[in-house]
């Protein structure tokens, strides 16, 4: 019996969003009588940070404190249409729609403030703390709240904005099949260090090392959270999870939750992450998004590391001890491959 060390790597170019019919997102922004803003979306937040990032983008664009922005993603019946929170598209598509909507609302807000201050709206700036003042003359100012109230109760203006982000459907060249499915790609490279036991077929992941390029990290802690959690999910798909272990034969599948295997807190490996920020030209404040790609490179990297450790290629998932033992038997034992430092 021996435990064989292996190292594998994988790189990924990941398309942000999709282009099957345009892939639009919409946002509506309006000010309430207390000078706070509501952003209405149909893109929902399942914990990825859709609300937090939309809130940051709206506050930054409007020029108001983040505490004064509320993001409502409660109901797709009342929010404007959105394709949804999937395909790593949320930050990029929804964020761009929020910027368009917030810019329009900001324009009306500044017009209302200009009318109250009797100045030109083009001369006004926001301080991000709830005030609007004349550029270079901080004393000539009005609060966002007072401007909102003047608009709604005196001037008869709705401080609101509509935003949509749409990438037109790409045509396909009938000769070559060439098309432009997306406008932004995120990139990553991930290295897995693991060991394989040639007696039990057990795989123990010892370390993950990764570098992700995903535009500007609009909320660095949430990006890190996505990458840590996503890598765990990738590990789970690579080595543990399956409803049908002999697919396409449905036999011996797990019958309930008890028989659906996932790695627990004792099975995780240290993950050293580097985030490279290269702001995307068409991203909201340069953001693209980590989304799905945080799970994907783990799978090929694990398969490559297993090949590196014992010389067998497993090309179906998950890579269970049974598959490793059968492959080792067919090969006549482990054949560790060359390891490069």
């Amino acid at each position: 019996m021996a435990r064989h060390q292996g190292r594998g790597m994988a790189s990924i170019n990941y398309p942000i969003g999709m282009n099957l019919g345009g892939d639009p997102s919409q946002a509506l922004v309006h000010a309430n009588p207390d000078g706070k803003f509501t952003v209405a979306l149909s893109a929902i937040d399942l914990g990825q940070g859709m609300k937090q990032v939309s809130r940051q983008i709206a506050a930054e664009t409007l020029g108001v404190p983040i505490e004064d922005v509320y993001v409502d993603t409660a109901d797709s019946d009342t929010g404007p249409h959105d394709m949804g929170s999937f395909a790593s598209r949320g930050t990029h598509r929804v964020g761009n729609a929020v910027i368009v909507a917030a810019k329009e609302a900001r324009g009306v807000l500044l017009e209302a403030a200009a009318e109250e201050l009797e100045v030109n709206a083009d001369d006004l700036v926001t301080d991000g703390k709830g005030n609007i003042h004349v550029r270079g003359a901080a004393s000539k100012s009005i609060t966002v709240k007072a401007a909102s109230q003047a608009a709604q109760f005196k001037q008869g203006k709705t401080i609101s904005g509509r935003g949509i982000f749409l990438i037109p459907l790409s045509t396909v060249n009938p000769e070559t099949g060439e098309m432009s499915p997306v406008t932004a790609y995120a990139h990553a490279c991930l290295v897995v260090d693991l060991e394989v036991c040639d007696e039990t077929g057990d795989v123990k992941v010892n370390k993950l090392t990764s570098a992700y390029e995903l535009g500007r990290a609009l909320n660095p802690k949430m990006v890190e959270q996505q990458l840590v959690g996503g890598a765990w999910m990738g590990m789970s798909h690579a080595l543990y999870e399956t409803p049908e272990p002999y697919y396409p034969n449905p036999e011996h599948g797990g019958r309930d939750y008890n028989e659906y295997l996932m790695p627990g807190p004792g099975d995780i490996a240290p993950h050293d992450i580097t985030v490279l920020e290269r702001p995307a030209p068409d991203g909201p404040f340069g953001g693209k998004g980590p989304g799905e790609m945080c799970a994907n490179p783990v799978l090929p990297a694990v398969a490559n590391a297993i090949f590196n450790a014992i010389g067998v290629r497993i090309d179906t998932l998950p890579i269970t001890p049974e598959k490793i033992l059968r492959a080792l038997k067919a090969q006549g034992g482990a054949r560790p491959q060359v390891r490069r430092a």
Binding site: L46, G47, Q48, W232, Y257, M262, G264, P265, G266, I268
Partner: protein, 160 residues
């Protein structure tokens, strides 16, 4: 079958309810008493989202019969915060981004509380063991483990 009376303390308040003999503690807490912090996940004791404390010990609400809780003290995540002041574990979970979708969080918090109440300075391995029965789909566990260790450290600092 006739419903049976049960009395226990829930997060410090005396409660009296009538339950079916086969009713689970999770069902009584959620449907009978309206405390929706403990969640229903697998319903077969595998995922841990229904974890509550019975006399300080972590128990799976979905596998515990309510009639066995007569006279006991039950704690759920709803009882952790003191008014607007978060429990150190809740604050640490927030600080360390230990929740994404949040469905496992009430169970994780109670499993962690049971650990820290009996072992204020746990090692990383002890933390892992304490939450080994709680499944999380989003975080990869690392932020949860870090949050529990940080909460333990914070409590230690406060006591010192």
């Amino acid at each position: 079958m006739a419903r049976m009376p049960v009395q226990f303390r829930l997060n410090g308040s005396d409660r009296a309810v009538f339950v079916e003999p086969a009713e689970t503690l999770l069902g009584t807490i959620r449907r009978g008493l309206g405390d929706f912090a403990p969640k229903f996940g697998c319903g077969q004791g595998t995922c841990g989202v229904c974890t509550v404390l019975v006399d300080g010990e972590p128990r799976l609400g979905c596998l515990t019969l309510s009639v066995t809780c007569e006279g006991r003290s039950i704690e759920t995540a709803s009882g952790l915060a003191d008014g607007p002041t978060l429990h150190p574990l809740q604050a640490a979970f927030m600080e360390h981004f230990a929740a994404q979708c949040g469905f496992c969080t009430p169970g994780m918090l109670m499993a962690a509380k049971a650990l820290l109440d009996r072992n204020p300075n746990p090692t990383r391995v002890e933390v892992v063991e304490a939450i080994a029965g709680n499944v999380c789909r989003c975080t990869g566990y690392e932020p949860i483990i870090n949050a529990i260790l940080a909460a333990a450290q914070q409590r230690g600092v406060r006591r010192a």
